[in-house]
């Protein structure tokens, strides 16, 4: 004999699941709702604006492809695109390479305590106005500035470094270096120490340990650092204008240029959408690659 089944309290189960749903929704919903309201809607508006027209210098709702036709018909559009892409990609690679030895030192050489101190000081400049820092670089890079004076003292010609790729790179590095340092250091610090020891135990030389154990193990984090440096450099226009002297015609500069033709925001919107699309593709491919399983 068994206990008679106690009738299921349906209301009880429903109450419980309602409570759980509400509790879950409390955590799941806030960010998406905020983003939908204050980001997705403006973004949708941006898409809409790309189909609007400009009448008497006034942005007017419309359904025309003229902005798309105009922008896609620009003969220098793709040159600008690839220049932008190439510049930010090379900056991202250079910044990652530049940051790596320092990240390595923070992850492997420094004690956790020293690492914390170094990271603290690496992040501190991030809080100081980016505009101010870019403006300050001019003093170093200009003719008669710090760097050219030093070069001159050693018998060089002391040319200004402004309006060169080097200046642009300095600007990108100013923006992205702290982020890359943090991501790389975390990635390296999380590499399993026993794997490294095992490799050393099996006779791997330092170089082999670096290239065959550490780099592959830290790949996702290192790639994310690269991606962030790329994202930041790609959308950057202050250092392109101030340090690059407007000589490097990148897409963000094209965006501001297009607006100057009498409120041509629809065209600027088209270029922006192209930028967003290319960034998304890049980010997607990079993330796939970063987390790709071997074999």
């Amino acid at each position: 004999m068994t206990f008679p089944a106690i009738p299921a309290r349906n209301s009880g189960r429903r109450y419980q699941s309602l409570f759980q749903r509400a509790w879950q929704a409390l955590w799941v919903l806030p960010l998406p709702v905020w983003l939908l309201l204050f980001f997705a809607v403006p973004l949708g508006l941006l898409v809409a604006i790309s189909f609007w027209s400009v009448v008497n210098y006034r942005l007017t709702p419309d359904a025309t492809l003229s902005a798309w036709r105009y922008v896609l018909g620009l003969d220098f559009l793709w040159a600008s695109f690839w220049r932008s892409y190439g510049l930010s990609l090379s900056s991202a690679v250079a910044i990652s390479l530049l940051a790596f030895p320092a990240s390595y030192a923070m992850a492997f050489v420094a004690t956790p305590r020293q690492r914390l101190i170094l990271l603290g000081f690496a992040i501190a400049p991030f809080f100081t106005s980016y505009l101010v820092r870019i403006y300050s670089w001019q003093v170093f890079l200009a003719e008669g500035g710090v760097i050219s004076s030093i070069v001159q003292a050693f018998g060089g010609n002391g040319e200004s470094l402004l309006n060169t790729y080097f200046a642009l790179f300095i600007g990108h590095a100013t923006l992205a270096l702290p982020v890359v340092l943090i991501l790389q250091t975390i990635a390296l610090a999380n590499v399993d120490r026993t794997e490294i020891s095992a490799a050393a135990n099996l006779g791997a030389r330092p170089g082999a340990i670096l290239f065959r154990v550490i780099l592959p193990a830290a790949r996702p984090g290192l790639t994310l650092g690269l991606l962030f440096a790329f994202l930041l450099s790609y959308a950057e226009f202050v250092s392109a204008a101030y340090l690059g002297g407007g000589t490097f015609q990148t897409l963000p500069i094209l965006v501001t240029d297009l607006v100057r033709a009498g409120q041509q925001w629809p065209r600027a919107a088209v270029v922006s959408l192209l930028m967003i699309a290319s960034l998304l593709v890049t980010a997607f491919v990079t993330v796939l690659w970063a987390y790709r399983e071997k074999g």
Partner: protein, 371 residues
């Protein structure tokens, strides 16, 4: 500008206390029954030196939205609710665009001292529509060839042609805006009306521009031009004027602006009342203040960038109070002055292209930069 340490320290402490007071009681400050006047303006015009006296006299608080480009200004006013901005300060070219888009109110001619204007400025082009003024001419300046004297002499600067000299290769800078650059080169091409070009002259102009491209160092904004010209990194910049070199000269840099033989351009900044403003009376009072001799002197000597002024009374007051500056800006009352240049026909107004669309000019400029 160097102060003795003691006075500056005292001022610093005073400043610190003031800072603490403001930070501690921001709401108190706003609750003194003051009226507020909002202004959309180029940077520097809301400097306390300029508007402080007006604010005090009328117990009004001027809140300025400073913009860094006419197109941003238009976008800001277009996307903000009507009546957001009571006073709008804009370049004359943009007055036309503001009026066409319906962003500014018509003014009453009798409210402003147009009679006191030098005759050249009385019925200023692009400010009057159907006999009604939409903007009051506040200040102006000349655009020519600005140069670092160490790199390019005044004699050289008498022609825009010098920019093509091999010794200035990679040493020519540009202000990154198509209108003044194309205008200056149009003058070089000998176009009497530099912005009113038929197809053939327009093609010639773009050809001239393209031939200059190898000489170009960079395309700058305000701050960039200051440092580039000051350090001699660029020898010369066409289509700008005393609004850059005057600032640098005041600080002791060896730079100046020369109006070449081929002629120069005139830039103009004007004041308007924003469409739908709820403080039109106050806005009118403010514009009247800026047009008064006192306001005129203040705007002529604006810290951000100096300029010439259109009223006779303003000239008189400037000569009275700051003869040196009047001299420097060539606004002397007795004897040859800046107006002679206009009267001699060497100065043309910077304006919107007549036969081509604005976007055609902008495209040409973007193409030039990308070349």
């Amino acid at each position: 500008m160097t102060h003795s340490i003691i006075t500056s320290r005292r001022r610093l402490i005073k400043g610190g206390l003031a800072a603490a007071a403001v930070l501690a009681s921001p709401t108190v400050l706003r609750a003194q029954g003051q009226r507020e006047l909002s202004m959309l303006t180029w940077a520097g015009h809301a400097d306390p030196d300029v508007i402080g006296a007006f604010e005090e006299e009328h117990n009004v608080r001027i809140r300025a939205k400073e913009y860094v480009g006419g197109d941003q200004m238009l976008a800001q006013i277009a996307q903000s609710p009507a009546g957001t901005y009571d006073v709008v300060l804009a370049d004359a070219e943009y007055v036309v665009q503001l009026q066409q888009a319906g962003f500014i109110e018509p003014l009453a001619a009798e409210d402003y001292p147009f009679d006191d204007f030098f005759p050249e400025f009385q019925n200023f082009r692009g400010h009057w529509f159907d006999g009604e003024p939409y903007a009051v001419f506040l200040r102006f300046g000349f655009l020519g060839l600005s140069h670092n004297r160490a790199a390019m002499s005044e004699a050289e600067a008498r022609s825009y042609r010098s920019m093509w000299d091999s010794q200035h290769e990679g040493r020519i800078g540009h202000f990154d805006w198509h209108l003044p650059n194309l205008g200056a080169l149009s003058l070089l091409n000998g176009n009497a009306s530099p912005f009113d070009l038929d197809e053939q002259h327009w093609t010639e102009l773009t050809d001239t521009m393209m031939s200059l491209r190898p000489q170009v160092r960079g395309f700058y904004d305000y701050g960039g031009m200051l440092s580039a010209l000051r350090s001699g990194e660029v020898a010369a910049i066409p289509g700008i004027g005393d609004w850059i070199t005057g600032v640098l000269a005041r600080d002791g840099a060896d730079v100046t602006t020369t109006i070449p033989e081929e002629g120069g351009l005139q830039w103009t900044e004007s004041l308007s009342i924003g469409a739908g403003s709820k403080n039109q009376d106050l806005a009118r009072t403010f514009i009247q203040y800026m047009m008064s001799p006192e306001g005129q002197v203040k705007t002529a000597t604006l810290k951000a960038y100096p300029a010439m002024i259109p009223t006779k009374a303003g000239w008189a007051r400037l000569n009275d109070e700051q003869p040196g500056e009047a001299q420097r800006q060539n606004m002397v009352l007795n004897g040859p002055n800046a107006l002679d240049e206009i009267r001699a026909g060497r100065i043309r107004l910077r304006e919107l292209p007549v036969q081509q669309s604005l976007e055609t000019w902008n495209d040409a400029w973007t193409r030039y930069k990308n070349a």
